[in-house]
Amino acid sequence: MSIEVRNVTRAFGNFVAVDNVSFEVASGELMALLSPSGAGKTTLLRIIAGLETADSGQILFHGEDATDTHVGERRVGFVFQHYALFRHMTVFDNIAFGLRVRPRHLRPSREQIRDKVMKLLKLVQLDWLADRYPHQLSGGQRQRIALARALAVEPKVLLLDEPFGALDAKVRKELRAWLRRLHDEIHITSLFVTHDQEEALEVADRVVVMNAGKIEQIGTPQDVVERPATSFVAEFLNLDDHGPAWLVEAKIKHRGYVLAVDKELRHTA
């Protein structure tokens, strides 16, 4: 199930958070949306999920227009930075939530729900925690439970908003390696948002680099590292030392005519 973002724009007052952005996440791909904080990537993710509406543009799932589809019917799994687990429910009940709120004729039986939840708990390797409450878990465990909860409803796509942002460095490293392995196992089309270059380059199949609401470059981790498209990408990825050089602002004068160079010129060595 592919995700296509077509000319999406979203402004808050004068601040344009997402500025005419288009890109596609191929079916089964794990893609990272990488940009500094406050560059509109979370807004874009929320628009894809249906938690926020775009001022203009379209969202397509598998070629079908989902722009006006209600969040509950989009079948997206959403993982929040701060887990958003239901505090008064056990781990088991949290994961079962999405199945239990289905209309009666679509709701699986008790046994089916039980099997499904236990299977998911095994998938995230936390099956011994079923009866615990969220506050009894570590941050990394909570995020894995949040992921299992999102997967329980068999979403068509998985969206993760800074999924490791609230965790300490060591857990973050472990968890992103784990996410990569998990994705290799279940191959669900996934898009995750991060401001951590290392995380994006290590985990994702392809990376979208955004700045100030606009896309700077789309490519594989190797692409963006070896051939950064703009000076921003090079700077943001800390490639200054060994990357190419840019001419950013320049004027060319000839017999009284002044030509401003507004595009970046890359020095290709």
Binding site: G72, H88, Y133
Partner: protein, 237 residues
């Protein structure tokens, strides 16, 4: 005072009728306030509208108003010739002032802020993310309220209920004006105690007071137990 005399004093028909009214109306008022208080708190937390700050301030009015003033004002409003009372009388033949219904109205009025002010901060703490998470999992608005928001505010709601109930049981000033104080019909227990005191029946007044004390204590204990139950699974973040 012997046990026999004590028993006679606290089980006189007129006194028993007053227990029923006081505890019944207090429980009912706290229950009604739980519903409306939750709605008011919800609106104040989740919506912005012109005059919101004014409404927010008005919620505290029953706290600030001397109870006698509240009583007289409510009586004036709900009396058969009052602003609200004469419509109720004309349209539905409903009498509020000088009936047990009047007692209920007064107790609802003084109890509302307890619910609103205990629920409001907790509701503010329920992150919008929880609702969004539930929505992405396919829950309807009602399911989100019933399974996500309500369990989170339940302990606070029970606390508010307890406070409103406790206040209503002991309420005197605002009730005696609107109740009409007819023996067996609209006479509350605190009034019986005052009446006995005015008749220099100190032991009788104390006996009735003891019953009130014990009953209130037992009810509060019960509510606190419920609260403990609901809090057990609703721990810190």
């Amino acid at each position: 005072m012997s046990w026999g005399q004590f028993w006679d004093a606290v089980t006189a028909p007129r006194v028993v009728a007053s227990y029923k009214l006081t505890f019944g109306a207090s429980l009912l008022a706290a229950a009604i306030n739980s519903v409306f208080g939750l709605i008011v708190a919800w609106v104040l937390v989740r919506y912005s509208f012109p005059g919101k700050r004014l409404v927010d301030a008005l919620v505290d009015l029953p706290f600030a108003l001397p109870t006698a003033v509240a009583g007289i004002a409510l009586t004036a409003l709900y009396a058969p010739n009052g602003w609200i009372g004469h419509y109720l009388q004309d349209w539905w033949g409903l009498k509020v002032a000088y009936t047990p219904l009047g007692v209920l109205v007064a107790l609802i009025f003084i109890g509302l802020p307890f619910i609103v002010r205990t629920v409001q901060p907790v509701l503010e703490d329920v992150e919008a993310e929880l609702e969004e998470a539930a929505a992405t999992l396919g829950a309807t608005r009602w399911q989100i309220f019933a399974h996500v928001i309500f369990p989170a505010v339940l302990p606070a709601l029970l606390t508010g209920f307890t406070l409103a109930f406790a206040r209503a049981v002991g309420e005197y000033g605002s009730v005696v004006f609107i109740a009409g104080n007819m023996p067996m019909i609209s006479e509350i227990t605190p009034l019986i105690i005052i009446t006995k005191l005015e008749q220099y029946d100190y032991t009788g007044a104390t006996a009735v007071a003891v019953v009130m004390l014990v009953t209130s204590f037992a009810l509060l204990l019960l509510i606190n137990y419920l609260q403990w139950l609901s809090r057990k699974h609703n721990p810190e973040k």
